[in-house]
């Protein structure tokens, strides 16, 4: 890496070859090695009337969908999907589309600031030199063991850089957390795979290759793991075979967006999903003949049906459909795993797949391949591990904490006490792009660029059977006075000297990224490049590098069926007549609330915009004398929260549900002071894999007497007699 080739030089060289136009589209406008040119030779992105397109990676969640961003005269205009990227194949979700409202958001952190943990956002700018000095001093003045790094689920290159830094200087490895992974119960899923299959990793469920899908709470059409890839799978399930339309059954206590697309929605009692899976498994095993495998031997389908509140005929019907199918598939996920017995549920559903002989099969279950520059699967921290980290912060063992890409003050349940723990850390430095709750509680905010202004890469954890590394490059120059966090850390490490400087011997972020890509040079894949500069240019142009063929980790599940599963009933914390079901808003997810067009999107099932609601069954609402828009107080053992009622026809009478995503006390004008956060009423209860038992709470509901009219896209006329006059 001693000789740097300038971007212009590279283009000149490349223009000799045949692939000129293709290469032109591949280089970012903010490329680091730009030489001065006369005005008569304008760069390609400033031609009037012509759009330039850049490939990059979406940062709205960690699924690593590839994007092609249309830019015009240095402004990002429209997000389109990258057709080459194996995860999304040219498609995007609503959040990916609205990422531009994050880029051009009026409430970004525009300069490095000394926040000083003030309640209001500090706006007096610091210089970046002073900011780098603050970070360098934090490195020098603390023992490495007292430095803490808390990172989000994206981007991976920063995680690698911080991991390398921490390892070299003897600091604890960075803690990684994302609230989507908490609601997905990722730790439970991988622990179940480990217990049952002897291999840890992220299972991938091939919905597209299947012809009947039984989903036990998995909300795979919403925010689960890799929503665009799973939605494509769903489309293939329905229309992949023109002669046979795939069938889909969802077991879930509330009709989610995913359940609303199912042919059958079966509202079973929360916490009985694992038992139901075993019961159907037993019916299938008995019908197939031979000995019933040990995992299913002890379960009594009739008793389970009574316990789950479903008729035995429905379970028998599901078993019949499975017996007739070529590729039946069962998926565990969502709130079913966020129970005290979540690990049992995940194991039961995986055992059910073993019974159906589904591992390594089309329409079955794979272990997702590792990404190209990955040695092993790193799962994000579970809520239990975050609690341990919070204890460590409280004990004073963390003297300085760096936070990037995550907002735990908002995301973690209040009862875990993250905000209090943060207050006991002497110095907190945030790299937030937006003034979120955690950033405001920090001493400094040194804002990172927005994802569309950033270099980087993201590993594909699941969603495709091709091993994929999705690449990111800036599609526009930074709009504000922000700086890449990787660059700040590199500069600070070099300023701190000693071990720190040795740990990061890089000129800048791009230099570091190229060092991580070096191992892929000369490998067969989506493209082949003989040396690193060519590789890096193609990596930008294609939006990443992936293997051409499917490549999964082979599962050896020979003893999955012989294990007897520890059947555990779900325990519910607290008192109250209702089970409480928080779910991630399908349109906002965890960080969409500051994007105005995401707020204006109608929630798919309720059509509510710009607010939070509580879903209550019509009959229950009638008994409690509740109507639409009555504000109720939800009280759990951990806290209380208020939100207006939405009388929802498709939820169990003993369950109430509330979307997660609103209720910010900071995070810009579109998010702040809007709606309520269901995490406020969640308690400290975990399942055996350490994931939060977020669906294992009982709550009371109290009418407050206040009304708050929810803005809905649907008409209210005629709904439950509203607007129909007194006679109705």
């Amino acid at each position: 890496m001693s000789e740097k080739i300038s971007r212009r030089d590279f283009l000149k060289l490349a223009s000799v070859g045949a692939a000129t136009t293709a290469v032109l589209t591949g280089c970012g406008p903010a490329s680091r090695y730009v030489t001065r040119e006369p005005y008569t030779k304008m760069p390609e992105y400033t031609y009037n009337g012509l759009s330039t397109y850049y490939a990059t990676t979406c940062r709205e969640c960690a699924a690593a969908c590839g994007l092609i961003v249309r830019t015009m005269q240095g402004r990002a205009i429209k997000v389109e999907g990258n057709k080459g990227n194996p995860v999304n194949l040219g498609k995007t979700c609503a959040r990916g589309q609205a990422t531009l409202h994050g880029l051009y958001n009026p409430d970004r952190v525009e300069n490095p600031v000394q926040q000083g943990r003030a309640k209001n956002f500090a706006t007096e700018a610091m210089t970046w030199d002073a900011a780098v000095q603050v970070v360098a001093d934090a490195f020098k003045n603390n023992d490495p063991s007292e430095i803490g790094f808390l990172l989000g689920m994206a981007p991976d290159h920063l995680f690698d850089l911080v991991s390398d830094l921490a390892k070299s200087v003897g600091a604890p490895a960075p803690v990684r957390f994302g609230v989507l992974s908490m609601f997905e119960s990722r730790a439970t899923l991988s622990k179940a795979a480990e217990n049952l299959l002897g291999q840890s990793g992220m299972p991938f469920f091939d919905v597209g290759g299947s012809d009947i899908v039984l989903s036990f709470g998995a909300n795979f059409l919403e925010t689960w793991l890799s929503p665009v890839a799973y939605t494509r799978g769903f489309a293939k399930l329905r229309r992949g075979d023109p002669k046979h339309r795939g069938y889909f059954i969802q077991f879930e206590s509330r009709m989610s967006l995913t359940a609303s697309r199912a042919d059958e929605w079966i509202p079973i009692l929360p916490g009985t999903e694992g038992l139901v899976a075993l019961a159907i498994g037993r019916l299938v095993a008995e019908a197939k003949g031979g000995a019933v495998p040990r995992a299913f031997a002890s379960v009594d389908p009739a008793a389970v049906a009574t316990q789950a509140g479903v008729s035995l005929e429905k379970l028998e019907h599901a078993a019949t459909l499975i017996l007739d199918a070529q590729h039946p598939l069962a998926i565990p996920g969502g709130a079913a795993l966020g129970q005290s017995n979540g690990l049992f549920t995940a194991e039961a559903v995986l055992a059910f797949n073993a019974l159906l002989d589904n591992f390594n099969q089309t329409g079955g279950v794979y272990l997702s391949p590792l990404a190209p520059n990955q040695d092993e699967y790193h799962r994000p921290a579970s809520a239990q591990e975050m609690t341990d980290f919070i204890e460590k912060m409280k004990s004073g063992a963390v003297k300085v904490l760096f936070v990037h890409g995550v907002n735990p003050v908002f995301e973690l349940p209040k009862s875990l006490g993250f905000a209090e723990a943060l207050a006991s850390v002497p110095q907190v430095i945030s790299f937030a792009t937006f003034p979120d709750e955690t950033a405001l509680a920090s001493d400094y905010i040194f804002p990172d660029h927005h994802g569309l202004e950033s270099w980087g890469y993201q590993r594909v954890v699941t969603g495709t059977t091709q091993s994929t590394l999705s690449g990111a490059q800036p599609v526009v120059s930074p709009y504000f006075n922000t700086r890449a966090t990787a660059d700040v850390l590199i500069a600070a490490a070099q300023s701190a000297g000693g071990k720190f400087a040795e740990a990061l011997p890089f000129a800048d972020e791009v230099d570091f990224i190229q060092s991580k890509l070096a191992g892929l040079v000369g490998q067969e894949g989506s493209f082949l490049a003989p040396e690193i500069n060519t590789f890096a240019a193609y990596f930008q142009q294609h939006g990443g590098w992936w293997k051409k063929d499917a490549e999964t980790q082979v599962i050896t599940a020979s003893n999955a069926l012989s294990k007897s599963l520890k059947v555990a009933p779900a325990e519910f914390a607290g008192e109250g007549e209702f089970y409480f079901l928080p779910f991630v808003s399908p349109t906002l997810a965890e960080a969409g609330a500051n994007k105005p067009w995401l707020q204006e999107l109608a929630d798919p099932t309720t059509t509510v915009m710009w607010n939070t609601w509580v879903e209550i069954n019509p009959e229950t609402a009638h008994e409690l004398h509740l109507e639409n828009d009555d504000v109720v107080k939800i009280i759990s053992e951990a806290g209380e929260v208020e939100a207006p009622v939405y009388v929802y026809p498709a939820i169990r009478p003993d369950t109430i549900a509330m979307p997660f995503g609103q209720g910010h006390t900071a995070y810009g004008r579109y998010a702040q002071g809007r709606g309520a956060n269901p995490a406020d009423v969640l308690g400290q209860h975990f399942n055996e894999a350490g994931d939060l038992a977020f669906a294992g709470m009982r709550v009371k509901v109290e009418k407050t007497g206040v009304k708050k009219i929810l803005s809905r896209l649907e008409s209210r006329i005629g709904v439950y007699g509203e607007g129909m006059g007194e006679e109705h």
């Binding site: 402004r75 205009i77 429209k78 999907g81 040219g90 498609k91 995007t92 979700c93 609503a94 959040r95 990916g96 589309q97 609205a98 531009l100 409202h101 880029l103 051009y104 958001n105 009026p106 059409l221 919403e222 665009v228 939605t231 494509r232 769903f234 489309a235 329905r238 229309r239 339309r245 009709m255 967006l257 609303s260 697309r261 929605w265 709009y479 399908p586 349109t587 105005p596 067009w597 995401l598 707020q599 204006e600 999107l601 109608a602 798919p604 915009m609 710009w610 607010n611 069954n617 019509p618 026809p649 498709a650 169990r652 004008r669 809007r674 009219i709 929810l710 803005s711 896209l713 649907e714």
Partner: protein
Amino acid sequence: MTVDLNKLHAVGAIAEEAEGKWGMVIDQDLCTGCQACVAACAMENNIAFVGEEDAGYGRSMHWIRTERFWEGEYPEVRMTDYQPMLCQQCGKAPCEPVCPAFATVHSQAEKINLQVYNRCVGTRYCANNCPYQVRSFNWRDYQDSRIRPEITILANQFNPDVTVRRRGVMEKCTFCIQRIHKAQDKAKSEGREVEDGEFTTACAQACPASAITFGRIDHPESLVSQLARMPHTQHHLEELGTLPSVTYLKGA
């Protein structure tokens, strides 16, 4: 080229010349209601967001929305398929004859309903007469930075190919006419016809389930024509004689 569109079931075309007609097929069995189309449409077409209060008054400006209806009561309750609803680009459009300013007119070239913003005087007769309720009216200057200062930054994202609308103007889905024209110009400069699938509308491009297909319905071999000939097709409110250009596919 003369094609008998009645034989192709491209019903929306029978009231007019077929040549050049664009159409859409939406597979409701695939739609998951995820709103990607709505967000993509808003970003492509500079559609204003109106905020919570105005949205509550029904003033939100979605050019496409996903409708859903409930059937039955718990526990036998069922949600109907999501139904993406957008301007049906009617062959005989009820909105057209009622406009006193000739702001909503029929295009000869693309066979779609145009909305001429600088002719519109805001009588809202067209929205009143639209059976699909897909027209939205600019009740305020939502995108004027003198009224909403934050637009100064957000406006960086505006698509320069699409007009930013002012208060008092009606608007609706245009079948992304700017994309149609761009593709036609490109094809013309290269001396060829626009190929099927060469470009598509913003909603179809984003849709993760590929439920939306767009193309020429006067070309019998185009994908959209082939899909429109499938069984289980439906045209919404066709009993009104609107001759819609959007065909819906129902589940099996």
